[in-house]
């Protein structure tokens, strides 16, 4: 089933996939055990002439066992997950390689690049609709903002998603490790244009990124 996952192109995605696989093995094994046991009971203990059912009200030892064992398994799972969650969501990086703002609005993403002065809100900022350009193997920090309703910034290939709350600034960071173009759909119902609200993440090689930087800002100067 997990073959259906899109290709993972980020460092963070590796952690998400790791827990995806653990969940998959845990749940599949449990399901098989339960299903086989149930099928066996239905066959072995079906009504047969002359055979009476066992008069049993339960077994306290079993109750304790099948309370403690799942608890331990899940506890380990959860503690491992927590370490990862803290890395992925608690503290945005202090010195990312690339800073970008993404504004979610009905019905597109507005990507704001700070330009050479690396400050937002200055005249050298560049705004693009729906296209996020980043260099490969560099850490990207996005500040998510919203203008109207709740949207959700989702990059399946990066495995990360973050709801955008209008009125707040929410950090979102990742490091892409493969070049290419990947879709960035909105993942929270945001109105009639929710379907089709998407952008593209373009992960450049170092060279290609430098070229894009030059072209994008010279185009901007031409316009102004």
């Amino acid at each position: 089933m997990l073959d259906w996952l899109p290709e993972n192109i980020s460092l963070e995605g590796k952690e998400v996939d790791f827990f995806f696989y653990i969940s998959y093995y845990l749940t599949t094994i449990t399901f098989i055990l339960v299903a086989v046991t149930m099928a066996a009971f239905l066959i072995i203990y079906r009504q047969k002439p002359g055979q009476k059912a066992k008069y049993s009200h339960g077994n306290n030892t079993l109750e304790i066992i099948w309370t403690v064992v799942p608890t331990v398994i899940l506890l380990v799972f959860v503690l491992m997950t927590q370490a990862s969650w803290a890395r992925l969501k608690y503290t945005p990086p202090a010195n990312p390689d690339v800073r970008v703002e993404v504004i979610g609005k009905q019905f597109n993403w507005v990507i704001v690049y700070p330009g050479p002065d690396q400050k937002f809100g200055t005249s050298d900022d560049l705004k693009l609709d729906n296209q996020l350009n980043v260099p490969v193997n560099k850490q990207v920090l996005i500040t998510l903002k919203g203008e109207d309703v709740i949207h959700s910034f989702f990059i399946p290939a990066v495995r990360l998603k973050q709801d955008i709350l209008p009125g707040r600034k929410i950090p979102f960071w990742f490091t892409p490790i493969k070049t290419g173009t990947y879709e960035m759909p909105c993942a929270e119902l945001c109105g009639v244009g929710h379907s089709g609200m998407k952008g593209e993440l373009v992960v450049h090689t170092e060279e290609s990124y430098k070229k894009w930087l030059k072209t994008a800002w010279s185009k901007k100067e031409e316009k102004s």
Binding site: A53, W66, L88, L165
Partner: protein
């Protein structure tokens, strides 16, 4: 209320003292009110189901890309208010998705599970004559009807019905400009407010009745698990529904009176809506499943002829689930933008709440172990409940991990999960409960043969429709999107969307035998014409589904042209299935309306001590006295493998009754 205890030969004779209106419409009798809730729920299930089939149609064949006319069903997409030019737009799609869920949760599952079974079973199973507050009981039903009317009205107002999802996140739902929906969303909120009042009335009644009106000898730990479950559910309802009502009131204030509780542009907080909604919403989902668990426990025990394995553990498990359900709501909000530290806290509590459900599953298996299992119709549904609930519960493990949830939140993985627990779980328990208690409710039998055909059609096509949704979710397919073909990375998954829609259509058709059975059995349509019609129509449905299934298998589901060879093979297979099902039905169906005996299942619980039909007051001049636990089946040394709870204990059996 008169206390007649004569059994009569038809099931409406004993109401001869009242008129039509006080017997069937404004009745104070809990049994009638329970049946009224059942009719409400079943009627709304048709609406909710059709809405789903409509938007599944769009998902499989998005309107911009395909002719909406398919297979001679072009008349379905003729111009109408919902389909201008015969096409579904994204606004209508969002509306159908929203209303499908809203109707299924609030107007189908709650009325049937809590309104019908709660009302019908509680007094009968605890040995009471009626609910503590019969007038309030009647009011609770008519309030629910008012809520249903207000909810339905929203379809006919300008701007359409609510379309912000059943979760109604603000500010999409609180500022009309964002959706174009005006009064529809207001009516949605008003209706939910009214429905929450109806639930409150029910909760007050159930709690009071169970605490105060248990008959002599009916100690707490002699109550059947159905009643424990309904009691715990009523407490959850009492505490949770007011939160929903309040949140909806605040939504109305924001929409109509220009307050700013949830509107960030005016200083409000969108997350507040989510916290309020899910603080209600999580206990709500346990309201939707606990009575099903209780009923499944009872049915499994009766048809294994064994006590429930770990009865007290089951009670403690349900109680812990209820208690814990108040502190897990944030797992619906892991990605919402709330402080990630809260995500940590809620993940821990969510881990804990998984344990009691696991305990219950093992106890159900323990009940089957060593049994003498009869595969009656109610038993089939209860068994399906167990295994499908396990699937749903296990998929919950993925999302309990907040890291995995980053990816699967708002994808079809979530949709698969909740359909497995609510449909695979609760709905099958409802079908099982209807089949099991039908003789007591309607004095006739629910036909077992026709019921089994319905069971298998539903079970097979439910799994075919919903299991692939896990795969869609793994592929990153979002929820609530109108046209999946707009996304390149979803292109490989689109055939699965087609498959799911076809399976859902099969499942929808599979409900027709249930309707035929229900009508025939409730109204005692004992004539040959109706019976033959049911047999032929059901067999035709199976034949048709077989024909289409084989055709799709041979030609694939995306290719529109069917060759003559395919037609021939499909035709042959469909004729074979038609014959098999027809012969099965002809040989095994009974006459609709055959009068039921008082205790057709040889079950111990008190409702079977009451006559069929049970009169007003349920038990005749003397209330039953209880001496036994509810699950004393196959007690060693006794001649029968069952004993009603009113059977006095023999001295040597005394120690064995725990």
């Amino acid at each position: 209320m008169s206390e007649s205890n004569h059994t009569s030969s038809t099931h409406d004779d004993h109401h001869s003292h009242g008129g039509f209106w006080s017997t069937y419409i404004f009745s104070f009798d809990h049994k009638t009110i329970g049946k009224q809730f059942l009719w409400l729920g079943l009627l709304m299930m048709i609406v909710g189901g059709l809405l789903a089939l409509m938007f599944r149609w769009q998902l499989a064949w998005p309107v911009e890309k395909f002719d909406t006319a398919i297979w001679g069903l072009s008349w379905l997409s003729d111009e109408n208010p919902f389909l201008p030019e015969g096409k579904m737009g994204p606004d209508v799609y969002n509306m159908f998705v929203t209303m499908h869920a809203t109707i299924m949760v609030f107007l189908v599952v709650m009325p049937i599970l809590v309104g019908c079974f709660g009302n019908f079973l509680i007094p009968l199973m605890i040995g009471a004559r009626d609910m503590a507050f019969p007038w309030l009981n009647m009011l609770s039903f008519w309030t629910a009807v008012l809520g249903a009317i207000v909810m339905s009205w929203g379809f006919f107002v300008e701007g359409g019905h609510a379309s912000a999802g059943w979760t109604g996140y603000a500010p999409l739902s609180t500022v009309s400009d964002y959706t174009g929906v005006e009064w529809g969303q207001n009516l949605w909120a008003i209706s939910l407010f009214i429905l929450s009042l109806s639930s409150l009335m029910g909760s007050v009644n159930y709690i009071t009745t169970i605490i105060n009106m248990r008959t002599k000898g009916m100690n707490w730990f002699r109550m059947p698990l159905s009643i424990w479950a309904l009691f715990i559910t009523a407490i959850l309802g009492l505490l949770a529904l007011p939160v929903l009502g309040s949140a909806c009131a605040l939504m109305i204030f924001d929409r109509v009176f220009e307050t700013a509780f949830f509107n960030p542009a005016k200083g409000g907080e969108p997350l507040l809506w989510q916290h309020l909604f899910w603080y209600f919403g999580h206990p709500e989902v346990y309201i939707l499943v606990l009575p099903a668990m209780g009923m499944a426990s009872d049915i499994l025990s009766v048809f294994s002829r064994k006590p429930v394995f770990g009865y007290r553990a089951m009670v403690y498990a349900m109680s812990s689930i209820a208690f814990l359900s108040w502190i897990v709501w944030g797992h619906h909000m892991f990605q919402s933008g709330m402080n990630p530290a809260l995500g940590t806290a809620f993940m821990m509590t969510t881990l804990v709440i998984a344990i009691p459900s696991a305990i219950k599953t093992f106890n159900w298996l323990g009940t089957l172990w060593g049994g003498s299992i009869r595969f009656t119709l109610p038993m089939l549904h209860a068994l399906a409940f167990v295994i499908l609930f396990v699937v749903g519960g296990l998929s919950g493990i993925y999302m309990a991990s907040n890291v995995v949830d980053i990816y699967i939140h708002d994808t079809y993985f979530i949709v698969a999960h909740f359909h497995y627990v609510i449909f695979g779980g609760t709905m099958f328990a409802i079908f099982g409960g209807i089949a099991y208690w039908f003789p007591k409710m309607f004095s006739t039998y629910f036909d077992s043969a026709l019921g089994k055909v319905h069971f298998w059609l539903t079970f097979i096509f439910f799994n075919l429709a919903f299991f692939p949704m896990h795969i869609l979710g793994v592929g990153g397919h979002m929820r609530r999107i109108y046209d999946p073909t707009q996304y390149e990375y979803l292109a490989d998954l689109q055939p699965m969307n087609v498959f799911i829609t076809l399976a859902a259509a099969g499942m929808g058709l599979g409900q027709i035998p249930f309707a035929l059975n229900f009508f025939g059995s409730v109204f005692s349509l004992s004539g040959k014409l109706y019976k033959h019609f049911s047999q032929i129509f059901t067999s035709l449905i199976v034949g048709f589904i077989s024909y289409k299934s084989v055709a799709f298998l041979l030609e694939g589901i995306t290719k529109p042209v069917i060759t003559n060879t395919t037609r021939t093979i499909s035709g042959v297979v469909s004729i074979v299935f038609f014959i098999i099902i027809y012969r099965y039905l002809v040989r095994n169906m009974k006459i609709f309306g055959e009068l039921a005996v008082q205790n057709p299942w040889d079950a111990n619980t008190l409702e079977w001590v009451a006559p069929t039909p049970a009169p007003h007051g349920n038990f005749g001049p003397e209330l039953p006295v209880v001496f036994r636990n509810p699950y004393e089946y196959s007690v060693p040394g006794e001649t029968e493998d069952w004993a009603p709870q009113t059977t006095p204990l023999k001295p040597q059996a005394d120690g064995a009754s725990h």
